[in-house]
């Protein structure tokens, strides 16, 4: 006689150690197998787009920090690019290199956090997390030297950057790059070839390329499925047209590949940081842009960057006033989450946590 079982509906989150923020998933389980998934957002919705209509263009930079709060330099960069396209101003060379430098350092910090928490979700109880954070702390100290803040930096402004790097920044950056290689290699050795990591993540939650493109997935998750699309190469901005870097791609689209792509991207970002240090030259750091901007009425701009999690874009519409008429944020994490049902249904509870970690979402930009 077959045993009678009943599927069980459980809320994972919003308070949960591993949902990367206040994210709620309503999951129906049959034992440990996932039958249905329903994501519920909105727990961190702060109305950024509405607030942006009340603040002037320079003040909105502080709002953009708090979108994807672990990679705030890149959010600033996307917004400033959109505003510069709106008013049609050219950013000076030194500012471009400073922006590229800080954006790549921020990408390293964000990926380190993503990798660290991915491994934490696998159950390592914190050892690789602490190793990754050891490196991330160095980067945040560098940011503090540059602009006084570690997480919500507000370093860039429409037209350039806010502060020039102080004199002790460059030696500190050199020291960091020197120590980075050995410390990062330790982390890689610990995790990359670990059998338990491979058994848990290879072949789990596969994302085929066609589905990824159809679901507007971008960033490392798309590149892990086989595409080599990277906005830094396809539509270069700032100093990226002068940078030499590779684009790591993988073909499987499983959890391990997404994790592997992020690890390799850190190498490429450090490569770009070294090139920036060599190529940067003294000069002005900000174009002559008034603090209170008034763009042409009816002007529009769609400024996009390759953020650490995918394509981050700002769609700005101006009505001639000091605030934008509409500021729409296209957030990569929200788009990447469109695939969540495909990635989870059919797998187990333990895989669910690991898959969420491999997608590397950030609730600040999902909910805005």
């Amino acid at each position: 006689m077959p045993i009678q079982t009943e599927p069980m509906t459980v809320n994972i989150g919003p308070q949960h150690p591993s949902t990367h923020g206040v994210f709620r998933l309503r999951v129906t389980f049959d034992g440990e197998d996932i039958l249905e998934v329903e994501p519920i957002f909105g727990y961190l919705h702060r109305g950024t787009e509405k607030l942006a209509e009340e603040r002037n263009y320079t003040q909105i930079v502080t709002l953009t920090d708090r979108l994807d709060y672990v990679s705030s330099m890149i959010n600033n960069q996307a917004y400033c690019l959109a505003v510069e396209e709106l008013i049609g101003v050219e950013v000076p060379q030194r500012a471009k290199y400073l922006r590229t430098l800080t954006a790549e350092l921020q990408r390293v910090a964000s990926h380190l956090m993503g990798i660290g928490f991915f491994l934490q979700d696998l159950g390592t109880l914190g050892t690789p997390l602490m190793y990754a954070f050891r490196l991330r702390e160095r980067i945040l100290d560098l940011f503090e030297m540059l602009c006084g803040a570690r997480i919500t930096v507000s370093y860039m402004r429409p037209g350039g950057v806010f502060f020039d790097a102080p004199d002790d920044f460059w030696p500190a950056l050199d020291q960091f790059l020197k120590d980075f290689d050995t410390e990062y290699k330790e982390l890689e050795q610990l995790i990359l070839e670990n059998e338990i990591v491979m058994v848990r993540t290879r072949g789990v939650s596969l994302l085929p390329l066609e589905l990824a493109i159809n679901n507007s997935v971008s960033g490392p998750s798309l590149r892990a499925s086989g595409s080599d699309w990277d906005w830094r190469k396809m539509a270069p901005y700032d100093a990226y047209d002068r940078m030499e870097f590779d684009i790591p791609t993988a073909t499987g689209g499983d959890n391990y590949d997404r994790f592997w792509v992020r690890i390799q991207e850190i190498h490429q970002s450090i490569r770009m940081v070294r090139q920036c240090i060599q190529q940067i030259e003294p000069g002005p750091i900000r174009a002559d842009v008034p603090l209170v901007l008034r763009p042409e009425p009816g002007a529009e701009a769609y400024g996009r960057v390759e953020a650490s999690k995918g394509e981050l874009a700002f769609y700005l519409v101006s009505d001639g006033g000091i605030s934008p008429y509409r500021c729409k944020v296209r957030s990569p994490s929200l788009m990447n989450l469109t695939t969540i049902e495909h990635l989870l249904v059919g797998w187990k509870l333990a895989d669910m946590i690991v898959t969420l970690g491999s997608l590397d979402i950030n609730l600040g930009e999902v909910d805005r």
Binding site: G42, H45, N215, S216, W229, R304, K328
Partner: protein
């Protein structure tokens, strides 16, 4: 191999040839389309082999007091070009657009968000519920008259 943005004229020729009575205007690199035909136009842009827009970047809605504008940003990963398509919905009540969910699944959460925050509903979307706010919330906060 930087990505080009298609000008409005090329697009409008092809689109109005394929989907009649759809193009309203084209200016400054933007294609304006009749609201009722937006799904057909999008379908043509996705399936046509020279246009081949397989990636939907974003759908945005702007509240212009007398009318609403919905903006579609599209990219073709194979042909390396982008396009901007807009449609205009007059009035402020009973705004309905055909959904492009069946073309690009990436429209799922974006259309829900536009419904939630702007009040434009999409016919053909399988799950048009509020996404950022809770069911039972009164009003559409991102509209200009919601204070």
């Amino acid at each position: 191999m930087a990505v080009q943005q298609l000008t409005g004229e090329e697009l409008s020729e092809r689109v109005s040839a394929a989907v009649p009575d759809s193009v309203v205007a084209s200016a400054d690199g933007v294609l304006f389309v009749e609201p009722a035909k937006i799904a057909d136009v999008a379908g043509f842009m996705k399936s046509d082999s020279r246009l081949d827009f397989n990636f939907l970047n974003s759908i945005s809605a702007v509240d212009y007091i007398n009318y609403f504008e919905v903006v579609y940003h599209l990219t073709s990963m194979n042909k390396h070009h982008t396009a901007i398509v807009k449609t205009r919905l007059d009035g402020r009540d009973e705004l309905i657009l055909p959904s492009v969910y069946h073309l690009w699944r990436g429209a799922d959460f974006q259309e829900r968000e536009i419904w939630d925050l702007m009040g434009i509903s999409f016919s053909g979307h399988p799950n048009l519920k509020r996404i950022m706010l809770w069911e039972g919330f009164d009003g559409h906060p991102l509209r200009k008259d919601y204070l």
